[in-house]
Subunit: 366 residues, 2 copies
């Protein structure tokens, strides 16, 4: 059975961040599925992406929205909750319950806003490691994630080498490249320049109610980077709204309606400061930071590493993941497997092409 | 010699637009290089892209900025001004002298703004055809253009079949696809939602002086679409500004500085309403409009058609141009050549990879 449980842990010890700053106190909200066995050797950690959350599978009572990886996690599914105890924690910096820029800045009752420290992928991972420690989990069967979730999975492998037996990282990179940083820049700039953002001193309720066009515009750019020319062509083609005239300046193609709807809808459920902080964490992601080279960093990995790239992923190119595999092999490491999956879906493939990744994940977790 | 001349023609007869509306009166500003021979058979028409202008080659007195295709046009260059008389006209809807949304709306002294009609690629081409008629030029040796300039070149071929002996279209498409429309959408939305745009009732001087962040953000998205992951990696890598701390929220990667600089600079020399109108023209570009099929449209072309796609062009994919060639050949037409040029530069390749297109253009013009 799925046995979905949502819990929050509160930590009073400081979290020492890569920047040299500390986060203290902090909360981590997380979700679990399945049951922890007595030997505590059936744990799988799932790491979420930029705008994801700890709600990875199942539905909440009275809600029909499935978790973001529901196709992969559940009874009899690739991440089988009859066998595994699955944990997914909301990353620090996010806006779904773990401490982020809009959390109260202890001891004040005011949100941090810009006083929130920049966190890194390693900081996110460290915070999760501390959570797992508190839960009495000192080793896990596997860590799996896509996009920013894949960055976390890789960071676990490099910085906590004996923690996970297996690591599956999809649609991700060893270090964020200029192209992805550029997409984030468009979104960041659009948020910052929106007067309703009020230089970070916005009223979150007002944004949830009225939307924030800057974040909507940024999300539109994001959607481009999540898709591919091919998937957009198949999904929308050149279809035009029937009610609009072709020569109306504001007449719309279906792809424009799609971007508008999803862009503005996004501002109802995500926080703009969290968006700035998490994209910053993604931009500065570089597995080799603190090492002399990527080789040296990857050499730390002792887990079995499974890498999945998607052919038409234009955000984190499959070649970036393949580079991890070839670098490791060139250093004589054999604990790595790389597969490139044929898909037109672009970056989103790790979320939507469940059929194509299902068997690979099953085999990797065996 | 280059013999650069800039002129403006004024037209009082109405220009009948594809939309059913008319433009009356209107101006077209254009530039010429070289000299028209007596037989008037040495004319080459150059068509510009979205934010291009009639200033395609040479420099103005007291200015050191070269025209946008200066590497290709000039004495002894591929488009040799010792041999050819080259004309490049600013498209209607633009903001460099030809009639556009900020031109006075006759008989009033106020700009059109939103009263300006939506123009299409065909309308741009028709206006140029009328200009050439006035200049006594009823046939030309060749028409050449890239991106939106390539759309115009193709439209000349379909709608004025006996006008050009040769047509060279680069980095363009027979019909704008959803992916390109999506990039334009980000820019349009960013412009429209900027309060300084004042719903189209902005003061152009104030924008030129203070910039328009919405248009800057749109241009940043544009720059992504003009480049490629590979060219960005080579150009910027993960270089970070030396003066900025990695963990400063607003610390910048070089690629971010580049986008910011070019984005904001753009707002000093381009008009936001023109941007909305020209991107609309690009979005609705479809060579097959008014025909039963693309085959039927392409069947009209009697010019020798030379198509150049660029390997890493993610805005107008080489496959879109190859599709034109294969469609024509499938209809038994042999007046088409397609070449895909290897380049990492993305869409911008047609502007920067002069060395790689030089010989092809020379041969095509022979």
């Amino acid at each position: 059975m799925l046995n979905l449980q949502t819990k929050t842990e509160h930590f009073t010890n400081p979290l020492y961040l890569e920047s040299g700053r500390i986060l203290e106190p902090y909360d981590i909200v997380y979700e679990t599925y399945g049951e922890l066995n007595e030997a505590k050797d059936n744990v799988i950690v799932v790491c979420h992406a930029l705008t994801g959350s700890h709600h990875a599978a199942g539905t909440y009572e009275g809600d029909n929205k499935h978790g973001w990886w529901d196709g992969l996690i559940g009874q009899g599914k690739a991440i089988d909750t009859d066998r595994f105890f699955v944990i997914c924690a909301n990353v620090i910096g996010s806006c779904f319950g773990s401490t982020g820029p809009m959390s109260a800045h202890y001891p004040y009752n005011e949100p941090y806003r810009y006083k929130f420290p920049v966190v890194s992928i390693l900081d996110m991972v460290k915070a999760q490691r501390i959570l797992f420690d508190r839960l009495g989990i000192h080793e896990v069967h596997a860590i799996i994630g896509g996009s920013m979730g894949g960055m976390q999975a890789l960071a676990f492998g490099v910085f906590f080498p004996n923690f996970a037996k297996k690591i599956i990282a999809m649609a991700t990179t060893h270090a964020t490249q200029a192209w992805a940083i550029a997409f984030n820049k468009v979104a960041q700039e659009a948020i910052l320049k929106d007067p309703e953002f009020k230089n970070g001193y916005y009223d979150p309720k007002s944004i949830q109610e009225n939307g924030l066009s800057g974040m909507a515009i940024g999300r539109m750019a994001g959607h481009i980077s999540f898709l591919s020319p091919q998937s957009m062509e198949r999904k929308f083609g050149r279809e035009y709204k029937r009610t609009d005239g072709l020569f109306e300046l504001f007449g719309k193609f279906q792809v424009e309606s799609y971007l508008e709807y999803n862009g503005y809808n996004f501002t109802k459920w995500f926080d703009p400061l969290s968006y700035l902080y998490i994209t910053k964490a993604i931009n500065i992601h570089d597995l080799s930071r603190g090492f002399d080279s990527l080789e040296e960093a990857l050499d730390k990995i002792v887990s079995e590493l499974y890498l999945v790239g998607f052919e038409k992923d234009f955000l984190f190119l499959p070649s970036e993941m393949e580079h991890i595999a070839t670098t490791m092999r060139a250093c004589g490491k054999e604990n790595v497997d790389y597969v490139e999956i044929q898909s037109d879906y672009g970056h989103d493939a790790f979320l939507v092409e469940i059929d194509k990744i299902d068997q690979y994940v099953r085999d990797a977790l065996c």
